[in-house]
């Protein structure tokens, strides 16, 4: 049995607004081992980012509350940590990389100030030694002329360069887990590939685990070991990458995979999409959240929430018509009783 690095069970994060309660994360459970790369996919607004922020209890809005669930990191319950212990955990054991690199660096301080400050927040180190380590980290993430960049303001750097700086800061304290929240979405395609390769290389070098949030399945195939598909605050399918790629089970996963452009597509044919939009998170709660957009939905999808079942070794899915005994096949009519 491998050592568990991160265990999350029954995590619920709700946003309390005037017009209702938005259940951004509604009962998510999973775990990660040391060195694992886990991908979380789903459309915008399905709760991926909130889920990842909940791990280190760093929600963007004050109306958000973690109402239930436990997060165990490296054997300690994160919810029981004091403010100071939580602060020490952030950045040193768990690092985070955000979506838009241009806005994750403080615009009015130099890169050098921000990097040294971060090191000093976790270690007792003088400025000179810290600066040396920071420049080394910048070189490690492939920044040309690191001395010059080190002395720049963020607005003097390009988007890709900023993201490299952000990654350099993330690895600076040699964290055990890096949470990367759509790290490539704001970058152009060639830069995306470079950043992904960089993350993978760094992982091999330091044995870090990576939790990568993305809406791009291509990213998942490229670097992940395991995948988790989220929809409307819940996990709908969870499996090894190979298994999911070859044998996806949930109708939502099928939709996601179909809507991914591939080189084999006939040119000029429209890309297939999932009809409709994800439900308003203030309105979910009863039954299967995906039912309104699912062509296989029956009465039972309306009435009861599907349980997560293990259909094959390590492959979990939450659909009424997918289990060891029943089997829904993509494209065929659903003959199961609803």
């Amino acid at each position: 049995m491998e050592e568990k690095l991160l265990e999350i069970s029954g995590l619920r994060t709700y946003f309390f607004t005037k017009s209702g309660v938005a259940k951004a994360v509604d009962g998510v459970s999973f775990d990660m081992t040391q060195g694992e790369t886990l991908g979380v996919v789903g459309e915008s607004g399905c709760g991926k980012s909130v889920m990842s922020a909940s791990i280190i209890r760093l929600l963007a809005s004050k109306s958000g509350k973690i109402v239930d669930g436990t997060v165990t990191f490296n054997g300690t319950d994160v919810s029981k940590l004091s403010r100071e212990e939580l602060r020490k955990l952030r950045g040193s054991d768990v690092a985070m990389i955000f979506q838009d690199p241009m806005t994750t660096l403080d615009p009015v301080f130099k890169v050098s100030d921000q990097m040294i400050e971060m090191l000093q927040a976790h270690r007792n180190i003088d400025r000179k030694t810290a600066a040396k380590e920071c420049i080394q980290a910048l070189a490690d993430v492939g920044i040309p002329d690191p001395h010059k960049r080190f002395d720049s303001y963020p607005f003097e750097l390009s988007g890709g360069m900023c993201q490299r700086v952000a990654i350099a800061m993330a690895i600076l304290a040699r964290p055990k887990l890096i949470i990367a929240d759509e790290p490539t979405t704001a970058l152009d395609v060639t830069m995306q590939a470079q950043i992904l390769k960089l993350l993978k290389d760094l992982q091999e070098k330091y044995g870090t685990s990576i939790l990568i949030i993305t809406h791009n399945l291509g990213v998942v195939w490229q670097i992940c070991d395991n995948v988790m598909v989220m929809y409307a605050g819940k996990v709908v399918e969870k499996a090894n990458v190979r298994e999911l790629y070859s044998n996806p089970k949930h109708p939502y996963t099928w939709g996601l995979m179909d809507s991914m452009p591939s080189l084999n597509d006939t040119p000029k044919e429209p890309l297939s999409t999932i009809d409709g939009i994800p439900p308003d998170l203030r309105l979910v709660g009863k039954g299967c959240n995906f039912r309104a957009r699912c062509r296989y939905a029956k009465q039972c999808c309306e009435d009861t929430e599907p349980e997560m079942v293990e259909v094959s070794d390590g492959h979990f899915v939450a659909c009424h018509f997918q289990s060891k005994t029943t089997n829904l096949v993509k494209g065929e009519e659903n003959r199961n009783d609803g």
Partner: protein
């Protein structure tokens, strides 16, 4: 545990219901009414306006009638709720008539300032270029004078009297209005809808007044309300210095000025007019803030 129950009961809402709820929650009037301080402000303003409109009905005495036998009475004296001043004039009546002066001057000067400011702001913002630079440099020059100083000087030059105070305070308010309107117009004139109107052949005047102005009006309304508050303060300040409205005509500022001399033994003569000035300013400030928040919460500077 209780919270969880609440969540589940709220969860079963259809999207139509949610939309309805949102519309209800977001209408201007609902937003304004939900804001308790805005309602308080509006009530104060309402009372003041009634006081000003019906001064002659509401005041128990002639505010300028002397009664030297009953001078310097303390509050709650029989027949004189707020007492009397050094000439035996009824303070309550003077305060009520003072509200008429305050509201008249504050509203009048805001209208003057707003109209002139709007003309300058629209010209500068709509035309841009040289017109903008020249007009805004003039506005900058006026802005350099601390506002009460400008009013003081204007009243000194124009002479005392309500009309001159309205002019003086109005002119001092022009730079602020001009800047607000200009800011709106420089942004709006490049919006898509303006280009569309231009293509349709709207004249400059029509475009500026019929199409852009309505879109720029909300900050102007907010600013107008807030300016009434500061004009009440400035008027009181001028009268307090002995300029503008001169006794025996009552104004809150000159009542306070007169009362200041009796601070040692009859402090109510200074306390009461001050409270009314404060309440009036507070009322207009709260109303202005309320309108702003209800129109657009992002407008806070």
């Amino acid at each position: 545990m209780k919270r969880k129950e609440k969540i589940s009961s709220e969860a079963v809402m259809t999207s139509a219901e949610l939309l309805k709820k949102e519309q209800k929650v977001n209408s201007f009037w609902k937003k304004f009414v939900r804001n308790k301080s805005a309602v308080v402000g509006l009530v104060i303003v309402g009372i003041l306006v009634i006081m000003a409109l019906f001064s002659s009905v509401l005041s128990p005495y002639d505010p300028e009638a002397l009664d030297l036998k009953n001078k310097l009475l303390t509050p709650f004296s029989p027949g004189h709720l707020f007492g009397t001043d050094e000439f035996g004039r009824d303070l309550l009546s003077r305060i009520i008539y003072g509200s008429r002066m305050s509201i008249l001057i504050a509203a009048g000067s805001s209208v003057v300032g707003c109209l002139i400011g709007m003309v300058i702001g629209i010209l500068a913002g709509y035309c841009g270029g040289v017109v903008d630079s020249v007009l805004m440099r003039i506005v900058d020059g006026l802005f350099a004078f601390p506002s009460i100083l400008l009013s003081i000087v204007l009243v000194t030059v124009l002479g005392n009297g309500a009309l001159n105070v309205i002019l003086a305070l109005g002119i001092s308010a022009v730079p602020k209005f001009a800047r607000v309107v200009r800011g709106q117009f420089t942004v709006l004139r490049n919006e898509e809808f303006c280009n569309a109107e231009r293509v349709l052949g709207a004249s400059h005047f029509r475009l500026a007044v019929v199409h852009i102005l309505p879109n720029a009006i909300s900050p102007i309304i907010v600013y107008f309300t807030l300016n009434i508050a500061s004009a009440i303060l400035s008027e009181a300040g001028l009268s307090f210095l002995g300029l503008g409205i001169i006794a025996p005509t009552p104004s809150w500022g000159n009542i306070l000025r007169a009362g200041n001399a009796f601070l040692y033994n009859k402090p109510h003569l200074a306390i009461i007019p001050g409270i009314f000035i404060f309440l009036a300013v507070l009322g207009f400030n709260l109303t202005g803030d309320g309108i702003r928040d209800a129109l657009d919460p992002k407008m806070k500077q």
